[in-house]
Symmetry: C2
Subunit: 335 residues, 2 copies
């Protein structure tokens, strides 16, 4: 038995004859060693990492899976993915499940369902949070993009191009990264003395259909926005559906890239995030933690770029209304 182990793992001496006999038998029997048995001992690495994703339906998360898989592979580890379906209970369950499988480390896109601090209960497995702050005020390693700056820059751009009524269509703003995006939008408006009116805001959307209805409603008012800032690719599609259906003349900005952006009927500015870099940063951090590195929890906020579609020839200056001369509404009016 010991000889077989030594041959298979190339971990010790074996005579050419023994080696050959072992390898032949392995071939004939299609023998695969049991990772389970090997990792019974708590002191051995399983060379397996776990990734817990929210939901892989979105193109963005799909890319995260692919990039992390590649990064893990480069590191010599296998990545096992499980889907939390945006459910906090399921995330908790899967963390245990992964811990039970003796993964060396865990990369988690937090479900953000329960921020009561419950997340505190860390299992011993090293963990890096991806894309979102885990909430509950817990200190942990986090790698994410600079969504605040991304949205702030977009709003700034819209302002410079003359827009004075800029609406916001977003998802959940009580949890990250919705919080950051919403804050960027409202801070920028406030900074420029623009009214942060509640009728320019529609949030809490989780599907394209409701975002579409929201955009429709926004555009149907008597004083419609000349630009709409939205967040995920999903919501963007909803907004674009409304825009194209009404033939509305607005600019649109969103925080994710979509592959069909070139079909947009209106000027569109999107955020271009280097997901490969996100993955590499997370993997580097995780690998260090697994190796016992125990500095204080790290926060890495990666910069993003912007892409623009349908600029500038499609912009019709006459459709952009001049700035209102009314003073800006007070901060209290924010919804």
């Amino acid at each position: 038995m010991a000889t077989v182990s030594r041959v298979i793992n190339d971990s010790g001496p074996a005579s050419p004859d023994a080696r050959e006999r072992v390898l032949r038998a392995v071939g004939e029997l299609d023998f695969v060693t049991s990772a389970s048995a090997r990792t019974v001992r708590p002191d051995v690495r399983s060379m397996t990492w776990g990734l817990l994703v929210d939901d892989v339906d979105s193109h963005y998360f799909a890319r995260i899976v692919v990039e992390l898989d590649r990064a893990a592979q480069e590191h010599g580890s296998t990545l096992l993915v499980a889907v939390t379906q945006k459910a906090w209970a399921r995330e908790k369950h899967l963390v245990k499940e992964m811990a039970s499988r003796r993964v060396d480390g865990l990369i988690v896109v937090p479900a953000n369902g329960d921020l009561s601090g419950e997340r505190q209960r860390q299992t011993g497995v090293p963990r890096v949070y991806l894309d979102r702050f885990p909430g509950g005020g817990i200190a942990a390693d986090v790698v994410t993009f600079d969504y605040y700056r991304a949205v702030a820059d977009q709003v700034e751009g819209l302002w410079r191009r003359g827009h004075r009524r800029i609406a916001f269509v977003g998802g959940e703003i009580e949890t990250d990264p919705g919080t950051r995006r919403y804050a960027a939008w409202s801070d920028k408006l406030y900074e420029h003395g623009l009214p942060v009116e509640s009728r320019l805001v529609s949030v809490g959307h989780g599907a394209a259909a409701t975002a579409r209805q929201a955009a429709r409603d926004l555009l149907a008012t008597e004083d419609p926005p000349t630009a709409i800032v939205t967040t995920t690719g999903l919501l963007l599609l909803g907004v674009l559906a409304a825009v194209s259906e009404l033939g509305a003349d607005v600019e649109v900005a969103a925080s994710e890239d979509i592959s069909a952006a070139f079909l947009s009927p209106v000027p569109l500015s999107l955020v271009e995030a280097d997901i490969g870099q996100l993955a590499r940063e997370a993997v580097m951090l995780l690998a260090a933690r697994i190796d016992g590195w125990d500095e204080a929890p790290q926060t890495r906020i990666l910069p993003v770029g912007h892409v623009r579609h349908g600029y500038p020839e499609k912009i019709k200056p006459e459709t952009i209304k001049p700035a209102t001369t009314k003073p800006a509404t007070t901060k209290e009016e924010r919804s």
Copy 2:
């Protein structure tokens, strides 16, 4: 020790006192049983299934992951996903890896890299192939959609709407499901006595960019097609990019659904596949195999629906050329 095991798994008697003490200790220590240790014995089920996907970048595969995850969960198993990156070598490696992790069964979207029959070497793990025939002429359980019929119906529809020059822009046609789609297109054209000219065909595309160029080239000929049949969402985006850039007046059909379909500048007909059903069928089959069911390998070819966008008001009949009166070219002329 035995009592602890019994309490944790609720698998035998334990006094209220013992139970309470055990549970308290578990809580305090954040104790998680080791799935590795439990599954050292080959006769126990790990209640874990493996899913090997090609590449999760495409929206279509992302949906497969989500649906299978849901189906596995309903069955009481956890799904572990790994990405083969369309590489046959990696698929082989990951099958071993999964087998080593003692998954109860495997759902594989075959990478189709090497059809030399190597795939024959089945490890003992029950396996169901998803979406594509594994190739190499091997007999195995397969669950897939009826891509032949899907494309045949689309071509038939185009014919009925008067199209007589119908091009094909596809991916790899030597392997499934490209083979089936290409065959459907060419069979239908042949059936209607239309020329299956090589200049109406451009295949082998794996990215939107090359499909775009191909569509550009097709549309730039002196006798351009009035309709383009394409396959995946990726290629469709390429084709739509060319169409919208040239302002071409063609109909387009594709075998996948894309969420931005409503933005299409031209009439578009897409295949609508019930991925939930695909997942459920695969899971049902796999569960049966795991339970020892050993009938002959099954092939399930699921029917698909069609969705149409931009019909019928956008169709301008005068742009559709009448049928050529020349006799159809011979079958030999197919490329």
